[in-house]
């Protein structure tokens, strides 16, 4: 039963779907071209920061925008991956590709465990449980001996990729981060448009109906939760290599809030929204950093404005104008 409907869902039947797919392909190519040329125009470290957060926001959006699950604890996966990656690279002397892999795997495992707990409740409880679990990770990171407490893990070596390419030059590392980012978002795009993604949207829109159609909805939710945590972990591990630092900021609940804000600003449930949202928020933080605590206030104001007046987000509004899904 399920396999028949899955096969039907894969076929892009309508012309609109084909057009949308072509448009998306064109946008992805444009992004790739832009990323190839960007370090000649902009500061590479800033670009890498944007890309890490953009991947983080896209991973979060996979869960919220397509799974309909609001996690308020995504910092846990970003931060765990970043700690594990930093530890394996610095203390165990692993090459960067393995360190990133280890960090990502740790986030995947954590996502699987937390996901299987959180999906036992729905809606508002789900958000509270993910937040509470993430707070547990925060306290663990604060006390565990290997995380370095308030100092974090500093001076993480960037190392040599596959033992060949020296990553200490920012531009070289930038291209690695750009490739990781593109691979991540293309993977998410593929997941969204797979039969699995279609079922996911069905669950998001009407879970009882999906259950009555014979889908084991909890299994789908757990898989998407784990995927989202894994990709968030990939972003966190990469970030640890870029900044050569893993710190408590990455596991704090404010980070979980920031990724929600990025997704909300860019447009929930859109393919390109979270990237735009991440770019906007990171740029804002960079330019307003000298304002100190006011940044929090401004972020809060953006939250309120988005929720009250601008729920579709930047890309959501553009998509509505163009009458095309973006």
């Amino acid at each position: 039963m399920a396999s028949v409907s899955e096969r039907m869902a894969t076929a892009p039947t309508t012309r609109a779907a084909v057009e949308a797919a072509n448009l998306h392909r064109a946008i992805f190519i444009a992004i790739a071209v832009f990323l190839a040329g960007a370090p000649f125009l902009l500061y590479p470290v800033f670009l890498m920061k944007v890309l890490c957060f953009a991947l983080f926001a896209c991973a979060f959006n996979l869960l919220l925008g397509y799974g309909g699950l609001l996690s308020f604890g995504h910092a846990a996966y970003l931060g765990t991956a970043s700690y594990i990656c930093a530890h394996t690279a610095k203390v165990w002397g692993m090459p960067p590709e393995l360190a990133i892999l280890f960090g990502t795997a740790a986030a995947a495992a954590l996502g699987f465990v937390f996901g299987s707990l959180a999906i036992r409740r729905q809606g508002i409880y789900f958000a509270m449980i993910t937040l509470a679990l993430a707070q547990m990770v925060f306290f663990f990171s604060l006390q565990a001996p290997f995380t370095g407490g308030e100092d974090g893990i500093q001076a993480v070596p960037r190392g040599r990729l596959f033992g060949l390419i020296d990553l200490s030059r920012d531009t070289t590392l930038y291209y690695l981060v750009a490739v990781i980012f593109l691979a991540g978002v293309l993977f998410i795009y593929r997941v969204i448009h797979s039969p699995f993604g279609q079922v996911l949207k069905a669950i998001r829109d009407n879970e009882p109906r999906a259950i009555s159609l014979g889908y084991a909805t909890n299994r789908y939710k757990l898989v998407v939760f784990t995927l989202s945590a894994t990709l968030a972990g990939l972003a966190g591990a990469t970030k640890a290599i870029v900044f050569q630092l893993a710190s408590l900021t990455d596991v704090h609940w404010t980070m979980s809030g920031e990724v929600v804000l990025m997704t909300l600003v860019g447009g929930m449930g859109t393919v390109f929204g979270p990237m735009v949202g991440a770019a906007v928020i990171v740029t804002m933080q960079n330019y307003l950093a000298h304002l100190g605590a006011w940044v929090t206030v401004i972020q809060g104001i953006i939250f309120v404005i988005c929720v009250m007046l601008f729920r579709e987000g930047i890309i959501g509004v553009i998509a509505k104008k163009l009458k095309r899904p973006l």
Partner: protein, 295 residues
């Protein structure tokens, strides 16, 4: 009686008392969250900030207007509750027909704004608020020394919780409230102004948070961040207890405070996380929560 499992009774009872005090705050805060959730269907993320505002309003009343603790106990909840009513009228009332997650996002944004503003104005080091002279000092109970103010906090919190329970379960107003929680449309059809009831409920829940803030002011220093981490623990308390029952919230709040206190004595490293661990266990054993009605 002189020594329990190698722990001197002074330390044990001291931590238990501290646990009971934390439990009082968990109970009042989770009660407010449950009442708000019942009618508005949103989780009030601003609750921690409003608890902090309660403490700050008490401090401001004393330092700017010379109004002492006892009046603050009455005035601060009213003032903060009034800001809650404004928040509800300005923002939350416009989100009623939308997905309830928007309410969560909005209140989260408001919490960021409020905490940021107080941090800019007062810094993060914390301001002192002294214990009222009537409750200064303490008494020797034989097995431990009980500071009067701490005893007062536990008794006052219990009284507030029980009074809230009484109003909701035993009065006509409470009956309206419970009916509106079950079926707002039907209650409106009987001529009850449900939108106003909802707004007042939000104000009341916020007032409870502020009251907890005033009670906390002399124990913890008055600090812009005092509610931020606390509220996450209270969320865990709410998940453990479930929001279906008022008495359930009270029992869970005090109980978890005690568990936390005991953990501080026997295994201090885990004191910060024990409530989250309890939450995990409850989710595994009884996903609906200890007093929850639906899964």
């Amino acid at each position: 009686m002189f020594e329990l499992l190698g722990i001197p009774p002074q330390a044990l009872f001291g931590q238990l008392l501290l646990g009971l005090i934390n439990g009082s705050f968990y109970a009042i805060l989770s009660l407010g969250l449950a009442i708000i959730f019942g009618l508005l269907n949103i989780i009030n993320f601003t609750h921690g900030a409003q608890y902090m505002m309660g403490a700050f309003v008490a401090w401001m009343l004393l330092n700017y207007a010379g109004i002492g603790y006892w009046w603050a106990l009455l005035l601060a909840p009213v003032i903060v509750g009034a800001t809650g009513i404004v928040i509800d009228r300005l923002f939350l009332a416009r989100l009623r027909d939308l997905d309830h997650l928007y309410g969560l996002l909005l209140t989260f944004g408001l919490a960021l704004i409020i905490q940021g503003l107080f941090r800019n104005q007062y810094g993060v080091s914390g301001l002192p608020y002294s214990i009222p002279p009537e409750l200064a000092g303490g008494r020797n109970l034989g097995f431990m020394f009980l500071p009067n103010y701490r005893g007062w906090v536990v008794i006052a919190s219990l009284a507030v919780c029980l009074a809230t329970w009484f109003v909701i379960e035993k009065t006509r107003l409470g009956a309206y409230l419970r009916a509106a929680t079950e079926n707002p449309t039907l209650v409106q059809a009987f001529g009850i102004n449900v939108p106003r009831l909802i707004t007042l409920t939000y104000g009341f829940g916020v007032g409870l948070a502020a009251l907890a803030g005033v009670l906390a002011a002399p124990i913890y220093s008055v600090n812009p961040n005092m509610g931020a981490d606390l509220i996450i623990v209270v969320f865990a308390v709410v998940v453990i207890g479930g929001m279906g029952s008022i008495l359930g919230s009270i029992v869970t709040g005090f109980g978890l405070g005690l568990i936390e206190g005991l953990t501080k004595v026997f295994y201090p490293e885990a004191a910060a996380t024990v409530i989250f661990v309890v939450m995990v266990v409850v989710l595994l054993v009884k996903p609906a929560g200890l007093f929850g009605r639906t899964a």
